[in-house]
Structure formats: structure tokens, C-alpha cells
Amino acid sequence: AASQKKEGTYLVTMVTDTGGINDQSFNQSSWEGLESFNQKTGADVRYIESKQASDFTTNMDRACDAYSDLVWGIGFSLADSLINIASYNPDIHFAIVDQSFEDTPMNVTGVTFRAEESSFLAGYVAGMSTKTDRVGYIGAMKTFVNDQFEYGFLAGVQFAAQERGVPIQVDEQFTESYSDVAKAKAIANKMYSSGCDIIYHSVGGAGYGAIESAKENKKYIIGVDSDQSYLAPDNVLTSALKNVNVAVEELSTKAMNGEDIGGKTFDFGLSDNGVGLPKENKNMDPEVYQKTMEVQERIINGEIDPPSTEETYKAWLSENGIQ
């Protein structure tokens, strides 16, 4: 068949979540990881775009038909389909982003990110940098992945507030959309005009609107997923990176080299550069960066455990004596 791979090469196929390959988010980042993997190893890499949820299974299946050696599912939405297809294809290896399983099949690898860690740092940076003692958070929809960003950030801000000994207010609002740039911009406008001077967003493509608002209002914004400073060099304070590419590349390499990665979940955090802040942050006070790196150390060595859900956040607050 035309879809057969070249003889003797290692084929990795990733199946995207809805939103397409250039979603400026995990799909894209994962693909960058695979492209880099291809450059370093010469392995064959391909992707299949999903348009709707019902494409997940058929796309996984198509990837298997093409004799892929490793199939990636990008996003927790693909979990059911992936498990299903994996059960029919015991000889092919599968990996999924943002999902862990209670008992993971031997040919499946889960990959999760402790986005709460980078968000905690983002919150800390915001809390340390705010002049108005008021910052904002814009989320898209309430999902368990989004919770990591939200509560990680909130905790980070409170941590900074405690350190500085001043109360810091956090405005929160949701767009209910990953695409409505106007709404994200409007919410950002509202937050800036009501006194916030730094906003953190995790709304995917709609985030362009929030970044635009920062530019127009000459305020700061904290980017998400990838280093977004190129979108507004003077206004992006920093970005909470979620280096899906790093994870995808690393695990693909491991799988290709025959390491046994099946049956378990790899959890990426600050310690293994799965999440983090960019090294270059021209808008950030070096002193704040310095302190942030200290906090990062404390997270890595377990002194600080950023919360990732509403429950753990509340617990974390009371543990740290914050109301």
C-alpha cells in the first residue's frame, strides 16, 4: 500500500487532538518534538490531524496500518481510543500526552506534566512583579488539565504575597472558548482597566487577544505553553512553558533505542525540563528571576509542592497559613 513506510526505518506517527497541527499548543509542540527527533535520528515521522472526536480511533488505526512503530496520541481526549486500538495492536507501542492510567497496558506509555509547577513559578513572578498588587488569570474551560494552570498560578501568587507581606488580589475569568480572541481581549482589557498589571492566560489561540490587550494597555502578560515573547517583545513578562516537545522527543528516542518504557507513566516537571520558564526574560527584574530560580530549586527538591486541583489548593493554603 502507498501508506507503507520505507523499509528498515523507524516510524513514529502522532495523532493530533482536534484543533489541527498548527494549534499553537500541544499539537504543534509535539510535532516540533518529532521533527527534532527526526533530525537527530533520521527516523520517519508523520502526523494525522483529527477534526472531531470521532476521528481519534480511525486515525490511530490508520497509523497502525502504516506499520508505525510508535503512535502518539496528543491529549487526554484520545485516551479511550488509544487504549482501544492498543489492545488490538500488541506489537505497536503507544504513548499519550496528558494522561496516566490506573493500570497501564504493557504497550502504552502515559506522559503527564506538572504544569502546576511552572504555573506556580508564573504566579510567583507575577506576585513579585506586580506594582498594583492585583493580577489576573484568564482560563478557557474548567478541565482537570486547566486546573493545574489555575491553581498552580494562584498558589504561586499567594506564595509571593506571603513573602512580600502584602495581600495580592487575583481576578479570574473564563472565556469558554479557545478561539474567541475578542473575548479574551475584552476580559484582559477589563482586568487591566480595573487595576491588574499582570495577567496569566491559558486559553490557547484565544490568548492572542489577551496578548494584544497587554500590548495596547502597555501592561505585562505571562505566556503559556511556549515562549510567547515574540508575539509582544515588550509585554510578555515570561511564559510558563510546557515542553511537550521535550517529552515527545525524549520518549520517542527511548522507544526507538529499545528501552522498555511501556506500562508506566512518565511525569515531567521542573526537574527534567518538562515544564519551566524561559532562560531569557528581558522584561523581568533580574532580582525577581533570581528569587524565582530559588523557588524553582525548592520545588525540585520537594520543599514546595504546588497544588493542581481546587482541593489540594485549599489544603496548600491552610498548610502555609494563608487565608
Binding site: 500500500a1 501508506s3 482536534t18 494525522i48 488505526d61 490508520r62 502504516a66 487526554f76 469558554e176
Partner: protein
């Protein structure tokens, strides 16, 4: 000549030419973008007909859009543009899902019950648009667009409720297995089944897909719609109102009631589509969505390619499903962006819109022949 022109006049001729033109345009665009069009299209055909399971998958993909297409076509017969099929689909899927989660009966009861729930929800939502039109003269296109968005947010709201939300996912719990329309859902997970699938490549191939009984229900519903439209007095009434509501009114037909009933039935079809998707497709749950999935909007294209015929929607639905599915192998194998597929589908619909030109050409040909005959006669008589 006469045979030729009457062949040209057949509606299917225009549709077939439109489809060919669509492929032609796609080939040109592919060539311009530097892909070998023959290679690309053959990859696509390979992705459609290459293996039995591909066709099974296409049927799975076609099932919901056949029904939403039929929904649009049915309403269009009465002059209503059911752009709200998307919302009706969402409501149908949601109701089906909630029913499937909360009720657990034997499949013989469970499946009809879930289907009924989906149909009822879709029908109510459709009837709402119909009622707004009949009672307040609100154009169904406006209310449809608004109701689509409302449905989407409502569905997200319900999906996020603790009672239904499956933790660590973006959706609800799946429905109970007894509501699955996939074949032998329980058996499929067993060792024995795995062995069977290995031993019987053909059946195994199909069994591994989401291939399900939904298509039978869909076809039955399409046939039912066609039957209602063309064989019952109710259908006569609907078509009369759709064709000339003023005459229908003067003949004593209650136009407003018909508008509501039509939208209700159109909604029922779209709702059934949502229910079948829940029962037939993994993950058998409603997911939170940030943008429309497009099952309803694709129904518009399906209905128009079918020339507004409910039965035609079966074929155009399969075609549309095939294009979308085969288009993915075009992207995967050749590396051509999936936009090409969308352009191709768009071009087909565009040429379908132009298809009326073909009978006009036939008319012109006959006209020329008749004029010539008339002039020849006169000349013959005078000489």
C-alpha cells in the same frame, strides 16, 4: 439528440459532473502546490477502498451526517433552512448520553430508549425553532444560529457537572455497554475475540472498528422520512406548504402547525444522529467542546449534494464521509495539507450549485435544433 438531451436533464447527471469537477479542481490545486495529483488521488482512493475496514470506517463516519443531511433536506422541502441541525445534534447526543449513563437495561430496551431520548431532545429543540418562526416570525436561520451556540454551552455545562463528568477526562462517563450499537461490545474485549479476529482477518478487520448498527437505523429513518414525504397525506401537506404556502393556506392547510411539525421532525432526525453517534462511536460519551464539531453544518453540504432528496443523502453522506476519511490518508501519505480535501468538498458543492446549467444547455441545444427546423422548412417551401 433527444436521448442525449434527456440524459442531460436527469438530476443525477449534474451531480456526477459536479463531483468530477470537484476532483478535477483538487487535482489542479494539488499540482500547483507541487504534489503529484495522480499519486495523491490514488492515495486517497486507497484510503477509501484499500481495506474492508476503511469502508467500515466510512460508514461509521457517514452515519451521523446522513441523518443531519436528511434533516436539512427534509426541512428544505418545506422551504426551511435548518442551519440549526448542529444544535439539535448536540441536544440529541446529550440526552442520549445522559440516558445511557443513568439507565441500564437490556440492549433490546436500552438502545431504543437511548435513541428515543436523543430523538425527543432533538425534536424539542427543532420544534423550538419552528415555534419561534410560526409564533413570532423569527427567521429559522437566526434562531438556528443562536440555538446552536446555546446548545454548545449548555452541553458543556452539563458535561462539567459532577454527576456526569468522568474525572480526569474532558467528557462525561461513557454510557452503559448495553447501549452500544457496536457489534458484540462485551465479547470484543475478551481473549477469545482477539483470537477470532486474528484467525479471521476480514471480519476481524471490521470488528476492530467502530462499525455499528447505527447505519441500519439511519437508513431506516431516511427511508421513513422519504416515505412520510412522498407517500403520506402529511407529507403531501408539507410539500404543498413548502412549494406554495399561499395556495396551501387557501386550501385550508394550517401553515404554522406545519412549520412546527417540520422543524420538529427535522430536529428528530438530527437528534437521532447525535444519539447514534453516542451509541456507536468511541468514547460513547459527550465531550466538552470549544468549537462546533460540524456534524450539523456538514449536513448542509450532504443535503445539497443530494439535491435535497432524503434518499440521496445516504449516498452523498457516504461520499462526504469518504472524502473526509480518504482525505486524511491524502494528508498522511502524501503530506498534502487537509485543506485540499476541504477545498475539494467545497468545489463539489459549488459545482452542485451550478448543476442547473446542464438542463439549460440541453434546452439551448433543443432550441437551436427547433429554430433550424423552422427556418429550413420555410426555405424548403419557398424554393
Amino acid at each position: 439528440m433527444n436521448k442525449f438531451t434527456s440524459l442531460l436533464r436527469k438530476p443525477i447527471t449534474g451531480t456526477i459532473i459536479a463531483i468530477l469537477m470537484g476532483f478535477l479542481c483538487a487535482a489542479v490545486i494539488l499540482a500547483c502546490a507541487g504534489y503529484n495529483p495522480i499519486h495523491a488521488l490514488s492515495a486517497m482512493l486507497q484510503g477509501i477502498f484499500g481495506r474492508p475496514k476503511y469502508m467500515a470506517n466510512i460508514i461509521v463516519k457517514a452515519t451521523p451526517i446522513i441523518l443531519t443531511g436528511c434533516s436539512v433536506a427534509f426541512a428544505y422541502k418545506m422551504g426551511l433552512f435548518n442551519i440549526g441541525a448542529e444544535g439539535q445534534y448536540i441536544f440529541g447526543a446529550l440526552a442520549a448520553c445522559l440516558t445511557g449513563i443513568t439507565v441500564n437495561l437490556s440492549p433490546w430496551l436500552e438502545i431504543p430508549l437511548i435513541l428515543l431520548a436523543g430523538m425527543a431532545a432533538g425534536a424539542l429543540y427543532g420544534a423550538l425553532a419552528g415555534w419561534l418562526k410560526a409564533k413570532f416570525n423569527i427567521h429559522e436561520v437566526i434562531s438556528g444560529i443562536m440555538l446552536n451556540w446555546i446548545a454548545m454551552y449548555f452541553s458543556n455545562f452539563i458535561t462539567g457537572m459532577e454527576a456526569f463528568h468522568k474525572p480526569n477526562t474532558s467528557g462525561t462517563f461513557p454510557i452503559n455497554v448495553s447501549g452500544f450499537t457496536t457489534f458484540f461490545p462485551n465479547w470484543k474485549a475478551t481473549e477469545e475475540a482477539a483470537q477470532f479476529m486474528k484467525d479471521n482477518p476480514f471480519l476481524g478487520d471490521i470488528l476492530r472498528t467502530d462499525f455499528n448498527a447505527g447505519i441500519i437505523i439511519a437508513i431506516a429513518l431516511v427511508l421513513l422520512s422519504s416515505y412520510i414525504l412522498y407517500k403520506t397525506s402529511k407529507g403531501y401537506q408539507l410539500r404543498a406548504v413548502g412549494s406554495n404556502r399561499y395556495a396551501a393556506e387557501f386550501a385550508g392547510i394550517d401553515v404554522k402547525k406545519n412549520i412546527i411539525e417540520t422543524m420538529m421532525f427535522a430536529g428528530l432526525l438530527a437528534g437521532a444522529s447525535g444519539a447514534l453517534a453516542i451509541m456507536g462511536n468511541n468514547p460513547h460519551a459527550v465531550l466538552e467542546i470549544a468549537a462546533f464539531e460540524g456534524n450539523g453544518l456538514n449536513g448542509l453540504s450532504v443535503a445539497f449534494i443530494a439535491n435535497g432528496s432524503p434518499i440521496g443523502c445516504i449516498f452523498s453522506g457516504l461520499l462526504f464521509g469518504g472524502l473526509l476519511y480518504g482525505g486524511q490518508s491524502l494528508q498522511y501519505v502524501v503530506g498534502a495539507p487537509t485543506e485540499i480535501v476541504n477545498i475539494m468538498v467545497g468545489t463539489i458543492v459549488f459545482f452542485v450549485a451550478l448543476k442547473d446549467i446542464i438542463p439549460v444547455i440541453a434546452d439551448k441545444m433543443e432550441h437551436r435544433a427547433a429554430t433550424k427546423k423552422l427556418v429550413d422548412q420555410k426555405e424548403g417551401a419557398s424554393s
